[in-house]
Each structure stands twice: as C-alpha cells, then as structure tokens.
C-alpha cells in the first residue's frame, strides 16, 4: 500500500471533524472521497498533506509515518495537493507559477535551470495552457485556473496526488476535459485521492469510493456499491438527480418585471464580456441564466448590481436610477450573493449574519435570523465559528444566508450550488420553494448546473459569448438545450 491511514482523529474544540477514519490507497488507484458538507473530507486531505496535525492515529506513506510532519517535508516525500480554492501567485506569470512548483527547496539557487524551463512548458502544454505562459493568472478563465493548479501539482511528479473539488464550478464539458486530464495522470507509480460533489464525475473516474459522514467513514467499496448504499443515499445523495419536481408553470408574458435589463454591455479593456443584453426577471418568480463559464453570467450580475461599469439601462421594480451605484442598488433591495462569497472571514457566523441584517430593527433582525437558521440548520450549530474555518459548502450556505438577511426583494445568486453536497441541493430547493411561495422575493440564479436550474426556474435565459441565445419558460427549454454543451 502506498498510503495507509489508521484511526485518524482531528478535533476542533469540541468538534470531532475527523473521528477514527481508516482507509488505504495503493499505487495505480484513484480513490474517491465523498460525504456531506462538513463531513471532514478536506480535513482528511489537510491531515495527509501536513497542513493540519492529527490529534491521534497514523498516516503511513510507503510504510513511513508522515502524520504531524510539516507540509514541506511531506511535499518532499512526494505528496502534492490541489486546494479546494485556486491559489496562484497573482503577481507572477502563469509560467513563473510553474517554475515555483518545480524549484528545489534550496537557498542558493540563483539561476533557473533550462531543465525547469522545459518541464514547465511541457506541463503547460499538457494542460492546454501553453498560450498563456506569459499571462497573469487573473487573465485566465475559471477553468484555466484549475488547469494551472493541476499543472503545478503534476510537474512535481507526486506519488500521491490529492485533489480537493477539482470539478467545482466547471461546466459539464469542462469537467469531461478535466477528467480526461486526471485519467492521463493515472500511472502505476501514483495514487490519486479525489474529493468532489459531482457524483457523476467522481463515479466515472474512480476505482473505489470512501464515504464519510460527521467525521466517520460510512462506506468503502466499489463506486456503484457505495452510491447504492441506503446510508449514503440518506446522508449524502438525498433525493438525487433522478427526482423531477419541476413545477409546470410558465409566467404570463405580461407579468410585471422585477428587473428589466435593456441593451446592457460590459467591456473589460478590449474584451467584450456582455454584448447588448436585454432580458427581464418577472416578479415573484425564479429566473435562471445558464451558460458555460465565461459566457458572461457573472458580468451580467455585476452589471445589474453596479459593481462593474456598463452601458444600457436596468430597471429595478420599475425604477431606473440614473447612476448605478452599488451601495444604492443594494439598499434598494437588490442583493447579490457573489460567486466568490465575500464573507467576512475573520468574523463568526453570527457576526456575518448580523452584518447582513444590519439595516433591520432588532426584533425583525431576530426573526430573520431565526428564519435563515431554520433554512440552514448547520449555521445555527456553528454561530460562534469563524467563517474562515467553515468547510467549503458551509461557507456557501452562509453566503446565501447572509444575503437573505438583507431581506432582498430581488436576490441574485451566482452559482448557488457551487461546492454543495447533493443533499444540500434538496435543502436549497426547499429554500427556493419556500421563498417562491412567499411571493415576496424574485430570484435570479446564474447556474452551471443545468439540472438544478431546470428544476427550479420558471424562466430560463441561455447565454453564450456575452449574448442571450435563447429565452423562454423552463418547460420549453428542450428546444434551447441544444445550445448548451
């Protein structure tokens, strides 16, 4: 066995984030690690990488104990990790980011060897970024950043590669491409551990799945067996993709608009991100804009909320402000929950919610807090925890909850399902249904996840290359579905 984990335990205060987990991975194997949000998957990965120190238990790599060693030593033993969030060096070029991954841990190193240069270029070619070598990471498309992180890991020729949610935020086709890349990395010398909430993607890629729940291992078997297990269904998969509960409902064509976007364009320098977009969001309904990464969904939301300068007009509940100022728009009840979450990471869950409800009177604030906590019970359990230490999916829940605290009349959520376990989809589905029934709120979602969008939206806009390609009731979407890969 390449890696043997035995009785691993990690406590955060009173919480046992990893509670007696044992599993093993051999060379040549790809292991999937799944489980609900906050079940301890990232924590296990961090323990193996040495980012966290285990409280007890052992981690053997090639029969050598590495538990509790520093990350740089563990990296030296051939372990490499791609984090849940991309973290490139922003002031360096893509190529320099790769150099960094290749440099030895040696002080007296003042010249770059040609070998490093050629290996870096090879790796960029392998992940398809060769044309971006001289660019800054911020100029890369979203999926490009992922590729960069993967390249940084694979140039190190690790014997154990840890991938934390490599598919999050990728479109179906991008995920396919990325899976192919990971498949290419499979070798007899290497084991890969993959954490992701895209069950389809994980199932297609891995040889075996370990499932976790509340810090404990609940299954360890072939993918089909694990995914069929009642326990895993109950805690993780939920009702699943198969369940269809789209309400046959199409908004009346003359329904009043909560948002009316007319001829809006956004340019970043020479690049046109949004090209003369016109659409409307009917009041009290759920509208979704779907499209690939880079189609312009985030730019659209940022333009609506006054975060980026845009030409054209936007009408908010019938009013058209002359200058679109971000804070005024937010005050008037149009609230954005951005893709990047933008939580106050050094504040607690409770404080984050409090800031969201800042403008509310005390009693109302209490009521609204109770409401969002009932929607997301995990947040109620973690009031005093710093946002920074929440798991990826817990942070996403907090971001949506904080936006709801502002009592929006129009809520825009960019990628609501990012990093969420399938079972939380159900919870978010319920939230959306609850909000829809209350009728007070118009929801506008930007989604990568077509199934999710179709399930909830009354009205769908399909976006491609900064333009609206198709608009119509969700029930008629099949016609538009050909447009989106």
């Amino acid at each position: 066995m390449l890696l043997e984990v035995t009785d691993l335990l990690k406590r955060f205060g009173g919480l046992k984030a990893v509670d007696g987990v044992s599993f093993a991975v051999d060379r040549g194997e790809i292991l999937g690690l799944i489980g609900p949000n906050g079940s301890g998957k990232s924590t296990v990965m961090n323990l193996i990488m040495g980012v966290l120190k285990p409280d007890s238990g052992s981690i053997l790599l090639d029969s050598r104990e590495i538990g509790g060693r520093s990350p740089n030593r563990i990296a030296g033993h051939g372990v490499s990790m791609v984090f849940q969030h991309s973290r490139p060096l922003h002031q360096q070029t893509v190529l320099q980011n790769l150099y960094l991954a290749l440099l030895p841990n040696r002080l007296f190193n003042f010249r770059l060897s040609p070998d490093i240069d050629s290996r870096a270029h090879d790796a960029l070619k392998l992940v398809g970024l060769e044309h971006f070598a001289g660019r800054k990471p911020s100029e890369l498309p979203f999926a490009g950043l992922r590729r960069l992180e993967l390249a940084k890991s694979l140039v190190r020729k690790p014997s154990l590669l840890l991938l934390d949610e490599p598919f999050a935020g990728l479109s179906a086709s991008e995920m396919e491409e990325f899976s192919d890349l990971i498949r290419q990395l499979r070798s007899d010398e290497r084991a890969i551990i993959l954490v992701d909430h895209n069950v389809k993607g994980v199932r297609a890629l891995v040889d075996r799945i370990v499932a976790m729940s509340s810090g404990q291992k609940i299954a360890d078997d072939l993918p089909d067996h694990v995914l069929a297990s009642p326990r895993v269904r109950e805690v993780y998969l939920g009702r699943g993709d198969e369940a269809v509960f789209r309400r046959p409902h199409s908004p009346a064509p003359d329904a009043p608009s909560a948002l009316k976007v007319e001829h809006v364009s956004v340019r970043y320098g020479e690049a046109i991100a949004l090209d003369d977009v016109s659409l409307s969001v009917p009041r009290g309904e759920v509208t979704a804009v779907v499209g690939l990464n880079g189609a312009g969904k985030t730019s659209l939301f940022n333009a609506i909320c006054g975060i980026v300068p845009a030409s054209g007009t936007v009408e908010y509940e019938g009013r058209t402000p002359r200058a679109r100022r971000a804070y005024e728009i937010a005050r008037s009840g149009v609230v954005l929950c951005p893709e990047t979450r933008e939580l106050f990471t050094d504040m607690t869950v409770q404080e984050n919610l409090g800031i969201g409800g800042n403008a509310l009177a005390a009693a109302e604030k209490r009521r609204q807090t109770e409401f969002v906590e009932s929607l997301f019970p995990r947040l109620a359990e973690r009031r005093k925890q710093f946002a920074r230490t929440l798991s990826g999916g817990e942070q996403q829940q907090l971001a949506i909850a904080r936006a709801l605290m502002m009592k929006p009349s129009i809520l825009l959520i960019d990628e609501p399902t990012l990093g969420l376990a399938p079972i939380i989809f159900d919870a978010i589905s319920n939230v959306i249904e609850t909000l829809r029934e209350s009728g007070e709120l118009s929801l506008f979602l930007a989604e990568q996840n077509l199934t999710f969008a179709l399930r909830h939206a009354d009205l769908i806009h399909v976006m491609e290359h900064g333009k609206i390609k198709w608009s119509g009731p969700a029930g008629e979407f099949d016609a538009g579905s050909a447009l989106i890969a």
């Binding site: 990488m49 980012v51 520093s70 990350p71 740089n72 990296a75 030296g76 490499s80 990790m81 984090f83 973290r87 060096l89 922003h90 002031q91 360096q92 070029t93 320099q96 150099y99 960094l100 991954a101 440099l103 841990n105 002080l107 007296f108 190193n109 003042f110 010249r111 770059l112 398809g128 044309h131 971006f132 070598a133 001289g134 660019r135 800054k136 100029e139 498309p141 490009g144 940084k152 190190r156 690049a271």
Partner: protein, 315 residues
Amino acid sequence: MTVPRSDRSDTGPWPYIVAAIVVCLLAAVPFLGVNAYLLSILTLGLFFAVFAMCWDLLFGYAGEPNFGATFLIGTGAYTAALLSSNGLASPAVCIVAGAIAAVVAGVLLALPALRLRGPYFGLVTLVATLILRQVIILFSDYTGGEIGIAVPDIITISSTLNFYIALGAAVLTALVLRLLVNSPFGLVLEAIGQDPLNARVLGFEITKYKVSAFCVSAFFSGLAGALMVFYLGTASTNVFVDASVGVQVIIAAIVGGRRTIVGPAIGGVFLIAAAQYLHPLGSLSEMGVAVVALVILLFLPGGLLGATRLFRKAR
C-alpha cells in the same frame, strides 16, 4: 479560449538601460560643478536609498513589515563607531564588522520574531529598536548615550570621494537585490510573502528563506549604517536608532514604489532631498515632506516608479 498576443510580460532591456544612464549621470555629478552642499545631500540620500531598498526586500517581497529598520542600521553604525572610537580597528575593518554585527543581530531577532505573522512581526521589530535605543542610553559611559560617539577616523575628507562611496554602496545594493529578487530565490520569497501555506505545500521551508532575506537586508543596512558613521563622524541615536527614522525609511520605500527595489532607492534620495530643500521653511519642512508623501501615497499607489509605468501606458 482566446490566444494572447505575446508571451512576454516584462518590458525588455529598457529599464536596465535607463538605470545604467542614471548611474552614469550620478557618477558625473561631481564634475558638473555642483556645490558641496548639494553633493552632501545626495550622499545622504544615497545612504538612505540603501536603507529603503533593504526594507523593500523584506516587505515588498517576503511580505514582512519591518518597523525596526534602524535596529539593523543602528547595530551596524554603533558597532563601527565603538570599534573605531576605542581604537580597536581601522575604518575598513569597522565597516565590515558593522555589517556582520547587523546580520548577527538580525538573525537573533528574526528567528523568534518570524514565527509571528504580519503585524505582530512588525511590532517585535519596533520593540527591538526601542530596546536597542534604551541599551545605548543605559550604557552611556561607553556609547555616549544620547549625545553619541565621535569617531576619530575618517575614510576621506573629500566630499567627492564620500559621494562615490555612497553611490557605490547604493549601486552594489541595488544590483545584488535586483539579482536576488529576479532569481529563483526571489520567486520563492515572493511566494512565501503572498501565500505561505501554499509555499509550504509546494515543499519550501519558509523560515529558511525568510531568515536569509533578513540576513541580506541586515547586511546592507548595517554596511550603509557603518559607512554613514564615518561620513558623518558621529553615531547618535537620533540618526541611527530611532523609530521615526524607521518610519521615514518605510515612507521612502513606498513613495518610490514598493516591490521594485529601484523605486525605494529613488524614494530614499527624493525624501532626503525634499527635506533639505524645504528646510528654509523651518518646522514647516517636515510637514511639507509629509504632505508630499501623502499625496504620492494617495494618488500614485504604485509610487514614483509606478507613475512612470502609468505614463508609458498612456502613450
């Protein structure tokens, strides 16, 4: 995916050509018939440039705010001054000893302090300066206390030669630091400054790199401190071991443009020159310098050097 136009993000050989021309012009200054006063200002400015560059290596690259620049400078200066005033060594030896002493003191400070992150590291360096100052005052029998020590030796009385010594120190520091930050070592250092956890996961032992950067910074700070003692003829706490001087070093570096090495050098000369030219204003002069610095900080976030970049873009 769109294919970018070019692979190169740097600006080619121009910065080096410009730098070479500037150095040549500076080297020609004594022959341009400038008066001794201007030359002395430039000399001081060049020493200050070294301090600012050393600070930039730590903050601009390794991401560590050093509020105790004068701890390193002062150690170098006082070591040289004490050795010389006690007749223990020739100026050359004193200067080398000053630089080495600064490195030793720097390591002793950095090893415990670098465990702390961000502002806490900065506070420790600040406290170190205050302690050094108190020690000097406490042992005034040896150190001259607040009055300072006069050094009997000098390197040369020629203001031209002194100017060249300062210029040499500044050019040497700039060269070494630029080479360092452009090397793989510099890349790792920046990675550590931007995201230490990521750097560790990529296999780098970050303390090793940070302490090394601290040593380099200390070496040139100490060297310039010691040289400046022989130029001024005295070592006093108000010049060499003073938190407010440390703050001026920081302002110089940021006004010049941090994370460039060259920018802080410009900032150092600029700050000293501005202070001298505003001197006739009396107590208003400090105010004047502060206002100029503030304007630059507010309106030119990239500092003076960053402004040239804006200018290039605009064309």
